[in-house]
Subunit: 307 residues, 2 copies
C-alpha cells in the first residue's frame, strides 16, 4: 500500500502516542505530534524508541507542535490522551479536521468511540486496541517492554479500505497489526480482563496478577466480575463465548508478577481511567437492565481510592 500517504496527527503524545506515531514516522509517514511537557526536549533531541532486544530507533527530527491549530487539517488523527482528559478533545480536534479526516482512538476501555462519534460524526471514527507494555522513561524516550499487537477496526460496521490501509501501514512500520471485524466486541473482550485484574490490582491492596490469582476469594471474584461483563456485553449485542473466562484466567497465570496498567498509574500518582474501564460498562448494564453488583461495588471502591 505504498500509495497510502496520509497526513497524520498524534494527539496525546505519551508513551502510546509516541510509540505508534514514532514507528509510523520512522517508516516514512508524515506524522505531526501535539506535545505538551516534552515539546522542548523533543524539538532539541528528537524521539527515541527503545525495545528490549532491538537497536534503539532514534528520530532526530520530529514534527512537534504546541497546538493542533499549528498542525492544521490532517487525514488521520491518532488519539492517545488519557481517557480522564477526553473533555480536552472537544477543543483539540476541530483544527485537525477536513471533510474526510478519520479519528482513530487508541485509548483504553469503553465509550471513547461514542464520545468522538457524538461530537465529530460516527463516520469519522475508528479505533484500535493496543496490547503493549510501554513506559515513558524520560522526555522523548519511550521504553518498549513487550508485545505490541494492535487491532484496528471501525466504530460502525465492517472494515473499509481505510481500515486495511492503516493496518498495512502499521505492519510496514514493523508493528504486529490486525484488522478486526467488530471493534466494539473486541473492546468488550478486553474489558473481561481489564475490569477484574486492573480493578482488583488497586482495590485489593496493590496486588500484581499472580497475587490476585493466589487468593481463592479473589479468583472467585475475578470470575464473578468476568461473568457480569460477559452478561452486559451479550445484552448489548456482543457475544463472548462461555469458555473465554477460563481462557483469560489461564493465560494470566503464567504472566507472574504482572502489574496491570491501572496499578502502575495508581502507584505513580497518575489519573486512573475509572470511567472508561469501570464506569462505562456499569452504565451499559443499566441501559440493558442487567444487574451487575460486583462491578458496581468495585467501581465505587475505585472511585473512592482514586479521588
Amino acid at each position: 500500500m505504498s500509495s497510502y500517504h496520509p497526513r497524520i496527527a498524534v494527539v496525546g503524545s505519551g508513551a502510546i502516542g509516541c510509540y505508534y506515531g514514532g514507528k509510523l514516522a520512522a517508516s516514512g509517514h508524515d506524522v505531526h505530534f501535539l506535545m505538551r511537557s516534552d515539546l522542548d526536549a523533543v524539538r532539541r533531541q528528537g524521539l527515541t524508541l527503545r525495545s528490549t532486544g532491538l537497536p534503539d530507533v532514534l528520530l532526530p527530527k520530529v514534527q512537534a507542535y504546541a497546538s493542533t491549530a499549528e498542525i492544521g487539517p490532517v487525514d488521520l488523527v491518532l488519539i492517545a490522551v488519557k481517557t480522564t482528559a477526553n473533555a480536552a478533545l472537544d477543543a483539540l480536534i476541530p483544527p485537525l479536521l477536513h471533510p474526510g479526516t478519520a479519528l482513530v482512538t487508541l485509548q483504553n476501555g469503553l465509550g471513547n468511540e461514542d464520545y468522538l462519534a457524538q461530537r465529530f460524526g460516527a463516520e469519522r471514527v475508528m479505533g484500535a486496541l493496543c496490547f503493549i507494555c510501554l513506559n515513558r522513561i524520560a522526555p522523548g524516550v519511550i521504553q518498549h517492554f513487550g508485545a505490541g499487537t494492535i487491532s484496528v477496526g471501525e466504530y460502525r460496521g465492517a472494515p473499509q479500505p481505510r481500515t486495511i490501509a492503516l493496518t498495512d501501514a502499521l505492519i510496514q512500520a514493523g508493528i504486529e497489526a490486525v484488522t478486526v471485524e467488530s471493534l466494539i466486541t473486541e473492546r468488550w473482550r478486553k474489558e473481561v480482563w481489564n475490569v477484574p485484574f486492573n480493578g482488583l490490582s488497586i482495590a485489593a491492596g496493590e496486588l500484581t496478577t499472580d497475587r490476585i490469582l493466589a487468593s481463592p476469594p479473589l479468583e472467585k471474584l475475578v470470575r464473578g466480575l468476568m461473568q457480569e461483563i460477559v452478561a452486559i456485553a451479550a445484552a448489548r449485542g456482543h457475544e463472548i463465548p462461555a469458555d473465554y473466562i477460563d481462557f483469560q484466567i489461564e493465560r494470566t497465570r503464567p504472566m507472574g508478577a504482572y502489574h496491570p496498567s491501572s496499578l502502575l498509574d495508581y502507584q505513580a500518582g497518575l489519573p486512573v481511567e475509572v470511567e472508561s474501564i469501570w464506569g462505562e460498562p456499569l452504565r451499559e448494564a443499566r441501559k440493558a437492565g442487567v444487574v451487575a453488583g460486583r462491578l458496581e461495588a468495585l467501581y465505587s471502591l475505585l472511585a473512592h481510592f482514586t479521588v
Copy 2:
C-alpha cells in the same frame, strides 16, 4: 423476679462475656466463667469493670475455670466466643447441659443460633444483640465506653417466661435490657448497618464511619449494600421497612470518627468475623435466589484481607 436464680456459665470470657457475666455476678447471680489466658490473673485479682462516669465495679472473687467440665451442668449458658471460634463450642457446651439448659448467644452476625440449634436442639436456643462498646484493657479488666443496651429473644417463636426472666435479671444488674419479639429479624436489622460499615471500614482502606460517609461513591455503595441486605431479609421472611436505610445512614453521621468493631479487630490483628457478618447473609441470599453482587464482592475482598 427475685425467684430467678439460675446457675449461669459464661463461655468466651472476653470483653462481652466478662461485662455481662460480671454485672450479673455483681448483682448476686451465680456465674461461672470459662477462662483461658486471663484465668490466673482473674483468680488472683478478680474482675474489674470500668465504666466512664461511674465508679469501678470490682469483683474480688470470681468463679473462674479452665474447662467446662469443672463447671458442670448449668441452667443458662451465655456464649460470647468470637464466631470465628464457633467450632470449639462442639466440645465446650456438652458438659454444661442438663435437659433444661438454655443457650444464649451474645455473638455477632447471623447463623450463630442456627449453629447451636443444629447441635444442641432448637428449643434450648436464645440470643441477644449487644449494643455496647467495650475493651479488655488488661487481664480481667474491662473498660466500658458507651451504650450497653441488650435485646434478648428466642431463636424460635415469641418470648417465653425464661426470656423475660433473663431480661429482668439484666435490668436488675443495671443493664438496659429489652425483650424482642423476633430475635432473628433484629439480627437482620443489625446486619443492615454492620455489612456496609464494618465491611467498608476494612475494605475501603481502614476508614472510620465519618470518612466512609464523606466519600460520595462509598455512601452510594453503603446504600446499595443495605438494599441488598433488606432484599435478602425480606426473601427470608424478615420485613425491614424501606425508610430504615435512611434512618441508619442519618444516625451514623453524628457518630463522627467511629471505628466499627471489625476495624478494631482488623487493626489489632485479631480474627475478623467474616463468615457470621458477611458470609451468612450471602449464603441466605443464595438459598433465597436473591442476587447480591455487592455483598459478594465485599465478602470476597474481606475474605482476602483477613486471611
